[in-house]
């Protein structure tokens, strides 16, 4: 007789779900802020509104979902165990949620007090998360390009947090620091280091797995993360001297952007070679993201080659929309639509026993609902990009962003509710199956 297979290594399902269910709320908040501020949101990347918007999306939505996914992915995809998973979860979730609100209040109210609270609070909670995850990634026996990409991604997160804390310290205590330079480096490590490398590391695993494509070519997976890390490091150093080596800085930035193009094009080509030519929401989200990554990278190159481009305020807004609304939000949405159903399935397996059929992954979130969110998100992206030449489009763009995030939130709630329903049904069936076995068998005489 086969013993029931156990699934003890997976952390409780509430661990990742709380992050996933919180992230869209901050996306909605960003949409509301766009509606409230209107075209003023596009005026410059340095206004408090632009900074608040950026952090609602980058920390509130992206980092929130990415940390949740990381805590879940490490045991599942890398065989790495997190130290004290429950405590780390509480601390990280609080750090991200309250931290985003503190930053939002700090930027919008322009009050030093909020930054003075945010600095120790976010440094401790997010710093602890990053260090604990980094230790887990170095202790896992697993090897391969995903592990290397994730290690560099988490290291980049530590750089991003440190620079963010430095910036917030200067806001909180009015210190004279080279804010422009630090902001450039902070943003580059946050988006190009942490976010892009996390996406790449995850892509090496999930694109072939869920989209049934051939594996990523070894030349790319071996070199991408390490090369990007060196380019980012060298580019960051070029900001240090008073006499900046402008030519070298531009060359390094363009090389990093081209590297991102290579990753995106390889991903798009692999998806073109997938064995099942089914169009499903996660595939569409990924393809949209990779197309936007190509466009964003060329926009960076054009901006670098035309030094005057910085003066046109539409350029940073365009890049921000392309990268956050175009690249990272779609990848995250697409991945959540695989991660949540997979976690449901894995945890339902834990309740069941061999021979008891568990509902399949496709039953967790109805596909038409996910497709609807894709359309809403695409509309939000196009309208917000259109707002660069036609600022009034920021209003329908903001509305579409809110609608997309409400739809995402509802789809994730449906998945969570389905988990509760299916687990209840499984337990009932299990109880029914076990009940007769305690009675004498029919041929034993008793009725």
């Amino acid at each position: 007789m086969q013993p029931g297979l156990s699934f003890e290594q997976a952390p409780p399902i509430s661990v990742p779900f709380r992050f996933f269910l919180t992230a869209p709320l901050f996306g909605m908040a960003a949409g509301l802020l766009l509606l409230w501020q209107g075209p003023a949101a596009l005026a410059s990347r340095w206004t408090s509104v632009a900074l608040a918007l950026t952090h609602l999306l980058a920390v509130g939505f992206m980092l929130q979902a990415m940390c949740g996914a990381m805590l879940q992915m490490l045991p599942v995809a890398a065989g790495a165990n997190i130290w004290q998973p429950r405590r780390v979860t509480h601390l990280t979730h609080a750090g991200l949620t309250i931290g985003t609100l503190l930053l939002l209040a700090g930027f919008l109210a322009e009050q030093a007090l909020f930054f003075r609270i945010a600095v120790p609070f976010m440094t401790v909670s997010l710093g602890a998360f990053a260090l604990i995850v980094l230790v887990a990634l170095f202790r896992t026996p697993a090897q391969g390009p995903t592990i290397i990409a994730l290690r560099i991604a988490v290291f980049s997160l530590i750089v991003t947090i440190s620079l963010g804390a430095t910036l917030a310290t200067s806001f909180g205590w009015q210190l004279a620091l080279p804010l422009t330079e630090i902001t450039h480096i902070h943003a580059a490590w946050g988006l190009g280091g942490w976010s892009l490398l996390l996406v790449a590391g995850v892509a090496y695993l999930v694109v072939p797995m869920f989209q049934l494509t051939p594996p990523y070519p070894a030349w790319l997976t071996r070199s991408f993360s390490v090369t990007l890390f060196f380019l980012l490091s060298a580019w960051s150093v070029t900001w240090l001297p008073l006499q900046r080596p402008d030519g070298l800085q531009v060359a390094l930035a363009c090389a990093a952007a081209l590297l991102a193009v290579v990753f995106a094009v390889v991903t798009l080509r692999l998806q073109g070679q997938r064995r099942r030519k089914v169009i499903e929401p996660t595939l569409l989200f990924w393809r949209l993201a990779m197309a936007c990554l190509v466009v964003a990278a060329f926009a960076v190159i054009l901006q670098q080659l035309n030094p005057g481009a910085e003066d046109y305020a539409g350029v940073p807004f365009l890049l921000g929309v392309l990268l956050m609304v175009g690249v990272f939000m779609p990848v995250i949405s697409g991945m959540l639509y695989k991660i949540m159903p997979f976690l449901n399935w894995l945890h339902l397996q834990r309740i069941g026993k061999p021979g008891l059929v568990v509902p399949n992954m496709r039953q967790m979130i109805p596909e038409p609902r996910m497709m609807m969110q894709f359309r809403l998100h695409l509309a939000a992206l196009l309208l917000l990009l259109g707002a660069v030449p036609l600022p009034f489009l920021v209003y329908p763009g903001g509305l579409a962003l809110i609608a997309s995030c409400i739809w995402l939130e509802w789809n994730l709630i449906v998945a969570a509710r389905n988990f509760a329903r299916f687990s209840r049904e499984l337990e009932e069936r299990l109880a029914l199956e076990q009940a007769p076995s305690t009675l004498p068998r029919p041929e034993g005489g008793a009725d």
Partner: protein
């Protein structure tokens, strides 16, 4: 029987390969090996195997296919 039991999970959508593997392990005779072919290292499966008295070894082919051999302890 002696013939090798193989599950080719490379063309299947997760979690199908894991479902097929767990089902096949139910009827795997002692001493026989199950071969699973995938494009990734299936860590959740490894955890389940370890906790349920199975050993596994894996090797990667040049095309990126991971061969996972599973046997009861």
């Amino acid at each position: 029987m002696g013939e090798e039991r193989t599950i080719d999970g490379r063309g299947l959508m997760p979690p199908e390969p894991m479902e097929l593997t767990l089902t096949a392990l139910d009827t795997l005779p002692d001493g026989e090996e199950l071969l699973l072919l995938l494009y990734v290292e299936p860590h959740p499966l490894y955890a389940i195997l370890r906790q349920n008295g199975y050993t596994h070894r894996s090797q990667t082919r040049p095309d990126g296919t991971v061969e996972i051999y599973i046997k009861k302890n």
